[in-house]
């Protein structure tokens, strides 16, 4: 899956704050915070959020999740990709392909 080679980053248009084991995410669009669309991440979501650093690929993030939560590859892959898809849909993360993949036509592939 080419998705696995993509690199997610935190969007600059979100304010995040850890509280206990959870995270609060406030999207900021056109300089205005959308207080009707505040997100909270549970412990697992918070872990994935903290693992996203703009350098690790999706595949690497899945590997880290497998080790952290001792779950199988298939479950972790589905959970991480579902999570990232939702985050991308709400503009909370951005995704870019690995530079070396630019020529392979994956640039426009969507999570």
């Amino acid at each position: 899956m080419e998705i696995l080679k993509q690199i997610p980053s935190h969007s600059l248009s979100v304010v995040s704050r850890r509280t206990g084991d959870e995270y609060i995410l406030v999207p900021v669009t056109e300089n205005i915070a959308d207080m009707d669309s505040i997100f909270t991440l549970n412990e697992t979501g918070a872990f994935i959020w903290e693992t996203i650093d703009g350098r690790k690929t999706v595949e690497e993030i899945i590997h880290i999740v497998v080790n952290e939560f001792e779950i199988d590859d298939a479950t972790a892959t589905k959970d991480v990709i579902d999570f990232l898809s939702s985050m991308k849909k709400f503009l909370i993360i951005t995704v870019q392909p690995l530079p070396s993949d630019n020529s392979s036509g994956t640039k426009n592939e969507k999570l």
């Binding site: 304010v15 704050r17 206990g20 995270y23 406030v26 900021v28 300089n31 207080m35």
Partner: protein, 296 residues
């Protein structure tokens, strides 16, 4: 007068004019907030003329006139007040004071880093209240931002030394709740809008001058209830991030700058780690008082 100090929510605000042509005359809602002394937290210099915004000032927020008639909110296209910004450092609030059919353009220039602000009023009368609506609330709002405090839609009461805050949007029962407690001897801090501050590791809530002759009041904060009407009294505690976002939704916020949003989220998160938060569904009668006290 040429200058006076206000103590609002513990903020000492000095209003000062060095012009001779006009007198500063705070309206009656501020009278009981005037305090003696020279020390102040923020100085507002009042100038009796219009202010031309710098060309590089960018409009970052605009609030429409909002009319609420029979519980129907109507956002008119007319602008009520707006905020301009230069490089996220210097801010300008612009609005209009209407007095005796005379409209006067008003500009407050301020910075989140400076404690000396300037207020220009286009055409002043011989006696002018420099902090007319809506500028008074806006000025206080930005003081809460600077101090990492919280301005919230809520009624608040002090009952036998305990402070209860009932938060909710219009129509959820803030005033109703305040009146129920008042009838049982509680001290009403305010029935609509409060400022919450952390002072020496303890949280307090304060009223602000809204009505004529409002007396400055405050109370320690013991609990926050997010209220709604119900068929029976019911408390549902909320924790962690859920509590934070529910309280945030009721805070007064002009969320046009990342750093302001971040400060607000930070302040509310810290408060929710110290103060219990719960949803409260209530019947509008005195049974709610014992219900709350029994469930503490």
């Amino acid at each position: 007068m040429k200058s006076y100090n206000l103590n609002i929510a513990g903020y000492i605000i000095r209003i000062e004019s060095d012009e001779n042509e006009f007198e500063l005359k705070p309206s009656s809602r501020f009278i009981r907030s005037i305090v003696p002394g020279e020390n102040h937290e923020v100085l507002v210099r009042v100038h009796p003329n219009a202010y031309l915004l710098p060309e590089n000032a960018e409009k970052v927020f605009s609030a429409p006139v909002i009319d609420e008639i029979n519980f129907i909110t109507n956002n008119e296209s007319k602008e009520f007040w707006s905020v301009y910004c230069i490089d996220s450092k210097k801010y300008f609030i612009r609005t209009v004071y209407t007095n005796m059919n005379n409209q006067s353009e008003v500009t407050l220039e301020f910075s989140l880093c400076s404690k000396e602000w300037d207020l220009w009023i286009e055409s002043v009368a011989e006696e002018t209240d420099p902090l007319a609506y809506p500028l008074d609330g806006l000025l206080l709002y930005y003081l809460t931002v600077i101090n990492s405090d919280i301005m919230i839609h809520a009624s608040g009461v002090n009952y036998r030394g305990r402070g209860y805050l009932f938060s909710g949007i219009s129509g959820k029962g803030k005033s109703t709740m305040a009146n129920i407690w008042k009838n049982d001897g509680a001290k009403i801090i305010h029935d609509d809008r409060l400022i919450i501050r952390r002072i020496d590791k303890e949280y307090f809530f304060f009223n602000t001058p809204v009505y004529d002759n409002d007396e400055p009041l405050n109370s320690p904060l013991s609990r926050i209830y997010l209220i709604d009407h119900g068929r029976k009294n019911k408390i549902v505690p909320v924790y962690g991030a859920t509590a934070v976002i529910m309280v945030l939704a009721n805070c007064i916020q002009h969320n046009w700058a990342r750093d302001i949003i971040a400060r607000r989220v930070e302040s509310v998160s810290a408060m929710c780690q110290n103060i219990p938060v719960a949803e409260l569904y209530f019947k509008p009668d005195s049974t709610i008082i014992d219900f709350i006290l029994d469930n503490e």
